[in-house]
Amino acid sequence: MSTLLELSGVSVSFDGFKAINNLAFQIGEPEMRAIIGPNGAGKTTFMDIITGKTKPDEGRVLWGEKSINLIGKSESMIAREGIGRKFQKPTVFEDQTVRENLAMALKNPRGPFEVLFYRKSAEGAARIEALAEEINLTEQLTRKAGELSHGQKQWLEIGMLLAQDPRLLLVDEPAAGMTPAEREKTTEILVEAAKSRAVVVVEHDMEFVRRLNCKVTVLHEGSVLAEGSIDHVTQDPEVIDVYLGR
């Protein structure tokens, strides 16, 4: 397992409030990692920094074998480097069909002219079918994404993420608002994905995190409070104090 992403000394503040404070973080490939932490711990800002939405005040974000610095790169460039992101609220293109949503995410050249002259290929279609099966949406391919249930939208978004074929997946609260059965399926999808890539899951639900059965990083006030197995961190007195005890 080699290091895929490394953050060191990263800090960012908004109007004097330190959202991320001297944060250090590492993830290898393949690896599954869960990030937990109370509200305002900086989980979303952490993802914003990696994906280029927020520029940190200081620190380094290094990516891949060549240790490319991601700071200053645009969101689309970072996405093309191989970082996919799933938002807390499912954001799929509701006006378009499930197939169109997946086709857009499919790993292909992203320039306007390449897309303009893009031809549908049997290979692409097969890939979409395979993805749809993986996320349980084969029957829904021709339906508009807006007609899907909340859980299905979450899956579609995960499917779009997988279609991008990223090396690192950032997943924000994937199980929010899901039924127990849907959660189980989501766990399956994520565990499967983590066999070949790095997956970072931000989640509130401890039961869900426990089921992922992976290393856990606890964030608090913008830096890492504890790291280790779920049993290790849940027994850490500091963690209990700031998070679990409440």
């Binding site: 969101e75 996405a79 938002f87 293109f93 086709a103 857009m104 303009l116």
Partner: protein, 388 residues
Amino acid sequence: MRKSFLAENPSVLWFLACLGLFTLGVTLLAEATGAGVISTSFVKTLGKVLCLCLVAIAMDVVWGYCGILSLGHFAFFGIGGYAVGMWLMYARTETIVTQNLAERTIPATATEINDAIATQIFGVVGSSEFPLIWAFSHSLFLQLLLVVLVPGLLALIFGWLAFRSRVTGVYLSILTQAMTLALALYLFQNDSGLRGNNGLSGLQNIPGFEAVPQSMISMAFFWASALALALGYVLFARVLSGKMGSVIRAIRDDEARVRFLGYHVESYKLFVFTLTAIIAGIAGALYYPQAGIINPAEIAPIASIYLAVWVAIGGRGRLYGAVIGTAFVSLLSSWFTGGGAPNVNLGFYTIQWTEWWLVLLGFSFVAVTLFFPGGIGMIFDRLKKDAL
């Protein structure tokens, strides 16, 4: 490829068939080529409406599909008109001047001819010299190139600056509006080089075709406008089909999400903005020879707002909606403002439509926005749904 594209988009074929039938009908009824039921001036009106439909589908692509509410596309339309108008005016004045000077015993030198043309054109703004921007006006080819290049480059530079700074929504609308206003105000100046508020006139006289009656010239422009609309429609339908259309609509709905999918949103917006500006320029170049005159008032911000109103009433996000809205509203407008509609006497007050038409239009715009967001085009969507 082409065949499968048309087969996948039956609405394009429907549109082309309707446009073809309409063109044929007008041809058969016109003065020059048919029964003579339709007057030359009405042929010109219809030809102009077709050009407006072309700029409206461009507006629909940039606004209805890509979500950029540009209030500046009529500026590109006007620039196209000015570009072609410069050649028309130059060439026609040249013919007249050469004829006049030929009657003299000593043949005129090239400089004398040039000065005479300049005096003829710029006398109204107190100048007798060609401004720099008229450098290419002697050449039809170069001016036609400018019809495409000037709106294209302006849109490219403006769009690059605006999109790069991530200006979106209403702020972008205000910026485009400001661009239009600045351009119109500049052109209003006498020393702008484009004859100030006099604008360019006599554009209906096509140099080299003096012997051809206006009824025939108007027919030719009508056909050209219909062809341009057909080609523009197919072009846009092609751009909006498949994955490109998918990405463009996705940008309208959630551009941040599109970025995280790895698409460089700014490039796409720039592509759409520039392409539609070029088509708007071409539409303008076909429109103004039929109108006969162009002046800076044509570029005033209100014109671009009308464009948005037409597209909204027709139903944005549907190419045919933009065509229907534009044809419907602009023809209705010329009926009301041309005194076609009978005034309504309320006893205590008489509603004169020439004045009240704008109020009516305003109310319809509000009503459509609030109650029928799909506009007139929604009727077709219903029919399509029923048919399935």
